[in-house]
C-alpha cells in the first residue's frame, strides 16, 4: 500500500485528503507545516507527497526545492487554492499540481500517474 504524506496547514484539507485517499487504498500520514519535514520524509519514506503551497509561515515552493534537492525522484504534487503560483518558476520542480477541490478525482488521477512513472535506474 503506497504511503502518501499530506502537508497542509488546514485541518479540514488534511482530513478530507486522508479519508478519501485511505478509501482509495493508500496509507496516509500528515504534517501541518514544513517543520522538520525533510527528517520526517527520511524516517517515513513516503511514496509521494501532496504539498500545500501557501501555509502560515511556510512557502511550499521553497519546501519543494529542499525536497527535490534531497530526494531527487520523490514525486511531489502541489496543492493550491489559486493557480497564480505557476508564475513562479520554482513550481516546475513539482511532478504535478492540483487546484484544491472537494472532488478529488483529478488528484487521484495525478497520484496514480505519478506512482506509475518509471525511469530505468
Amino acid at each position: 500500500m503506497p504511503k502518501i504524506l499530506v502537508v497542509d496547514d488546514e485541518e479540514h484539507i488534511r482530513l478530507l485528503y486522508s479519508e478519501e485517499l485511505k478509501e482509495a487504498g493508500y496509507e496516509v500520514i500528515t504534517a501541518e507545516n514544513g517543520n522538520r519535514l525533510l527528517e520526517r520524509i527520511e524516517e517515513e519514506k513516503p511514496a509521494l507527497i501532496i504539498l500545500d503551497i501557501k501555509m502560515v509561515d511556510y512557502n511550499g515552493l521553497d519546501i519543494l526545492q529542499d525536497i527535490r534537492n534531497r530526494f531527487y525522484d520523490l514525486p511531489v504534487i502541489l496543492s493550491t487554492a489559486y493557480d497564480t503560483f505557476k508564475e513562479d518558476m520554482k513550481s516546475i520542480a513539482a511532478d504535478f499540481y492540483v487546484v484544491k477541490s472537494f472532488d478529488l478525482t483529478e488528484l487521484k488521477k495525478k497520484i496514480a500517474t505519478a506512482l506509475e512513472t518509471s525511469l530505468p535506474s
Partner: protein
Amino acid sequence: MAFYEENPGGITRADMVLAIPTFNEVEGIGRTTMQAAKGLAEHFGNLQSVIVNCDNHSTDGTREAFFSTPSEMPKIYISTSPEQQGKGNNLRNLFEKVRELEARIVVVLEADTRNVAPSWIRKLGEPILKGSGYVCPLYVRHKYEATLTSSLVYPLMRCLYGRRVRQPNVGDFGFKGDLVEAFLKSSVWTDSVQHFGVDVWMTTIALNARLPICQSLIGAPKVHRMKDPYAHLPVLFPQVISTIFELMMVYSDFWRQVKWSKPTLLFGTDTHEVETPVPAEVNVALLHDYFLQGFDKYHGMWQDVYDQTVCPKLEEIRGLGLQHFSFPTQTWAKILFDMAKAYAQAEESKRAILLDSLLPLYLGKVLSFVKKTERMSIQQAEEYVENECTTFEETKPYLLKVWE
C-alpha cells in the same frame, strides 16, 4: 584529435574548465572571455580554473582576440584542422582536453551571446559542485522563439527519456568532468553530431548516463547575433532530428522502459529580476505555404511512411485553410514516431529525403502552435506546451508498438 594547441601557461591540471567553442567569432570572443574570467574569479575563486577556446581554425583573428583579452585566468587555445568543420568537432577536442586536465567541472558558453554575465557561469557550474551531473540553462524565451524545441525536441525527448528538460539543445551547459568518457565512447558520431546536432547529442547522453539533471534559471533571454531562425532551418532541422533518431536506435532499451516523465533539479531560484524577452515575429502565411508545398513534393512518401490514419488527417488539415488551421498534437506525435521508425529502417542514402519530407509538417505544426497561442501570455503558451508533452507521453504506447 586537436590539430593545434597553444597553452602559454603550461597548464596540465585544472579543477574547472570554462570552454568557448568558436568559428570566426572575433567579434564576440573577447566579451565572452572577459565575462567568463569574471564569473570564474567571483564564484569559483577557490578552484584552479582555465578558459579553453576550442576553435574551428578561424581565419578572422579569433585566436588573437582570445589571447589579447585581459584576464587573470590562464588560457588554452585548441583548434581542429582546417578541413574539420563543425561545433561538434570543437567539443570533441574539448572533451579530450578535459580528460587530460582531469577537470571536475566543465561549463560551455557560446561566443556570440551578447548578454552573457558572470552570474551565468555560477548558474551553470555550481549545481555540478552540488552533485548534479549535467546542467541545462533555462533562458527566458518568447513563445515563438525556438519553436523547434517547443514543438518537437522538448516533447519528443521528454516522452523518450522521461525527464522534463525544457531547453535541451541550447548550446550552453555545465557538466561533470567524468561525463566526457561517455561522450568520447559514444558510438554515434555522425556528420550531424559534428555540427548542429551536438547539443542535443550531449543532453541525450547525459540523460542516459542516469546522472542527476539540473535546469538553471538564468532570468534573462539569450541575445544572439541577429539571425533569421528560418534561414538556417534547412540545415539545422535535419541535423538535430537525425541526431535524435540515431540516438533512439542506440538507447531503445532505455526509452522503452520509460513511462511518463519526471521533473529535474532546479537551480537559480534566487533570481529575483526576470527580464522580458523581445517578441519573435512569425510569418504565418509563409508557414502555411511551406506546409501546402509539402503535399506536392512528399505526399507519396508520407503515404509510405505514416500510419494509415495520418494521411487522411493531413488532407483534413489542408482543407481547413489558414484561418482555421489546426494540427492535432496526437497526429504530430504519431508522425514523429512513424518517422523515427522509418528512419531506423531506411538505407543511409534514403534518410536525408525522409527528413526533408518531415520539414513541411513541422512548419505546419508551428503554424498551428502560433494560431492556438496568439492570444496567450508567455506563461499560458508554456502551459500549452506542457499539455502537448502530456499528449506525447499518452501516445507513447503507439511508438512502442511500431518500434517492435
